[in-house]
């Protein structure tokens, strides 16, 4: 048999019977004339059940009424309708379930008249894939549209293919207007070159980018956007373009700018203030130098000449004249002490602290040694507890202890036995040192005044002093970042407390 010899009819029937698609022949009145094996399987009927019955039994109820009209249309104007032309149908199987299929139709003319030959393609699988795809697409869209950011998707050619609703609402434009490079018109002219350069370069290199640029909002205002773009790849790993998200950072940018300008202003102000302070400090220093020199010289002359006056025979011979000269001498000596104390006090506020780890015990020992002359001939009971290390200037801390212990000795003078205790206690990161005595004390209502310069709670005749000592203590301790306070009752002794930092700024001070 040559290739061009037609197959006999029996072979053609076998081929149709064996075809992998469901096939069906319908007469012009809608009766089923023929079905193949695949058709039987597809609808779940045997051909005996189908042959001679109206094809409408295979159509679901809700479209059954329309079907005869469709059929009539075909027979009135019979033409071949190929599969793939998109004629999707839903059929009803014997068990009542529905099946989706696409249908191709061709008119077949036989001796019995015009028939419609239908070939079906099962869409069940494709349907479910399509459905899943549509669902995923819808999910993506709803996510994209409800995201609080502006989203864009670009293809390989850098042209944008998608913008989410927030983007379109922000811009007040349609997807069609924004697609491709339409969005680029909205970029602020000053940012355009930088923005497009970054965009193009990162596309070229397929690397993520973040950038900020101004984009025109629907109300005509340019807003700063922070745009983060990432390359995206299709399932085969091929470069598919970019996807990016933008947030409006105008407010935070404005706040950041404001913060920066405030900082700059603050810095400037600090610089100015520092310069003013330095100047004031310089002036104060000059003033102190002049006080120390210019006040001391005449004072020296007063004491000196009062001294020489006392050596004059005329004065030596007159008790009253001698007394008068001695008053001058005493008063000028007192003035000298005051000037010295004041200068020392003022210097204390200005000198740089030379801080390091200081063993308070050593400092206390030195102070006690210095006080030996004052202790001599007196009954003093010392109670010295353990003293820790602190972070401070040893020379200044020595002045603190010298002042406090000196005071304790001074104000216990009326006591037969002076009892002086030095105690310490750790409180958080501080050391509290207490100097307690059984001296004359003071009225607790006046505790605050004690630490002011020239404030004295006792008469000069009773206890000598210039009223600078405790003010110095307070100044030194406060410069160390500590506090000083006092408790007492009149006649019941006093307790002075000083808190000092144990460590420098919270860290253990290493070798200083």
């Amino acid at each position: 048999m040559s290739p061009n010899t037609p197959f006999d009819g029996a072979l053609v029937v076998r081929m149709i019977e064996a075809a992998p698609n469901p096939m069906l022949l319908v007469a012009s009145d809608g009766r089923i004339e023929f079905v193949n094996a695949e058709f039987e399987r597809f609808f779940g009927y045997t051909r005996d059940e189908l042959l001679g019955t109206p094809v409408e039994r295979l159509v679901p109820d809700y479209v059954r009424a329309q079907h005869p009209a469709l059929r009539d249309g075909f027979f009135r104007d019979p033409m071949t309708l190929r599969i793939g032309a998109g004629r999707d149908f839903v059929g009803r199987r014997k068990d009542g379930s529905e099946v989706a299929f696409e249908i191709g139709l061709a008119p077949v003319r036989t001796e019995r008249g015009l028939h419609a030959l239908a070939a079906l393609v099962d869409l069940t699988r494709r349907r479910s894939v399509e459905l899943a795809l549509r669902e995923s697409e819808a999910r993506f869209r709803s996510m994209a549209d409800s995201a609080p950011v502006l989203l864009w998707v670009a293809g390989k050619d850098m042209g944008c293919t998608f913008f989410n609703r927030p983007w379109l609402e922000f811009r007040g434009r349609t997807l069609a207007e924004e697609q491709g490079h339409g969005w680029a018109d909205g970029v602020h002219p000053e940012d355009r070159e930088r923005c497009f350069d970054t965009y193009a370069r990162c596309f070229e290199e397929r690397v993520p980018f973040t950038m900020q640029y101004r984009l025109l909002r629907h109300d005509g205002e340019y807003r700063w956007l922070h745009d983060a773009g990432t390359p995206r790849f299709d399932t085969d790993g091929g470069f598919a373009g970019f996807i990016g998200s933008c947030i409006d950072v105008t407010e935070s940018k404005r706040l950041a700018d404001e913060l920066q300008s405030l900082n700059q202003e603050l810095e400037l102000r600090v610089r100015l203030r520092t310069a003013e302070l330095l100047e004031a400090n310089r002036e104060l220093e000059a003033f102190c130098r002049s006080v120390s020199h210019d006040l001391r010289a005449p004072l020296r002359h007063i004491t000196g000449f009062a001294g020489y006056l006392l050596e004059e025979p005329a004065v030596r011979d007159s008790a009253e004249a001698r007394r008068l000269a001695e008053v001058i001498e005493r008063s000028s000596r007192k003035l000298g002490l005051l000037i010295d104390d004041l200068l020392a006090f003022s210097r204390m506020g200005r000198v740089e602290l030379a801080r390091r780890r200081v063993a308070l015990k050593d400092v206390l020992d030195e102070v006690l040694a210095d006080l030996t002359p004052e202790v001599e001939g007196r009954a003093v009971e010392w109670t010295i507890s353990q003293l820790p290390e602190v972070w401070g200037d040893p020379a200044l801390l020595r002045q603190v202890l010298a002042n406090l212990l000196g005071n304790a000795l001074k104000y216990t003078r009326p006591r037969d036995v002076a009892r002086i205790a030095v105690e310490s206690e750790m409180v958080d990161s501080e050391v509290v040192v207490r100097v307690r005595d059984n001296g004359v004390g003071f009225e607790s209502a006046h505790a605050g005044r004690l630490f002011q310069v020239f404030e004295r709670l006792h008469g000069e005749a009773e206890f000598e002093g210039t009223g600078v000592g405790l003010a110095s203590v307070k100044r030194i301790v406060e410069r160390h970042g500590g506090r000083v306070w006092a408790e007492a009752e009149l006649g019941q002794g006093a307790c002075f407390s000083v808190s000092l930092p144990r460590e420098s700024d919270g860290r253990m001070g290493g070798a200083a």
Binding site: R300, F305, G307
Partner: protein, 150 residues
């Protein structure tokens, strides 16, 4: 011709001059103090110029030098002395009211031999002046070219 004195006191305050001289009153050194009122006059004395052109040759055994003075301060004079090959050998005791650390450091840097702050206390002042003059004027052996010992 003016006699060369063993001690040159450079001091602008009349009262300080009087106090210093009084402190030495009755002392062997009372008549051994020449006074210059500022650095310029001190230099004239040392170089035998101007008002002191006629004084005898030789150098004082010590200069007691105040700092704050008109025309030429003590530190300025010290700078000139230390740059002079001959004059830099004369011992200089700074005798001043100022305890300023800057002055102290500068003084020693310029070759001062001692730095004494004038005591405010009368007895201390008298004692300081007497001891200074005793030590530098009598006890210390001055460099060659100074006035001969008493």
């Amino acid at each position: 011709m003016n006699r060369l004195k063993r001690i040159l006191l450079v001091e602008d305050s009349e009262l300080d001059i009087e106090m210093t001289l009084r402190a030495l009153a009755g002392h062997r050194l009372a008549n051994e103090v020449a006074v210059a009122r500022d650095g310029v006059e001190a230099l004239d004395y040392l170089l035998r110029r101007g008002a002191h052109a006629g004084r005898a040759e030789g150098h004082p055994v010590v200069i007691l030098l105040d700092n704050k003075m008109p025309r030429m301060s003590g530190l300025e004079l010290l700078a000139i002395l230390s740059a002079d090959d001959e004059l830099r050998h004369i011992p200089v005791v700074m005798l001043t009211s100022s305890r300023e650390e800057g002055d102290l450091v500068k003084s020693y840097a310029l070759g001062a031999n001692a730095y004494v702050v004038k005591p405010v206390e009368f007895q201390a002042f008298v004692a300081a002046v007497q001891e200074l003059c005793l030590f530098w004027g009598l006890l210390n052996t001055p460099p060659p070219g100074s006035v001969r010992s008493l």
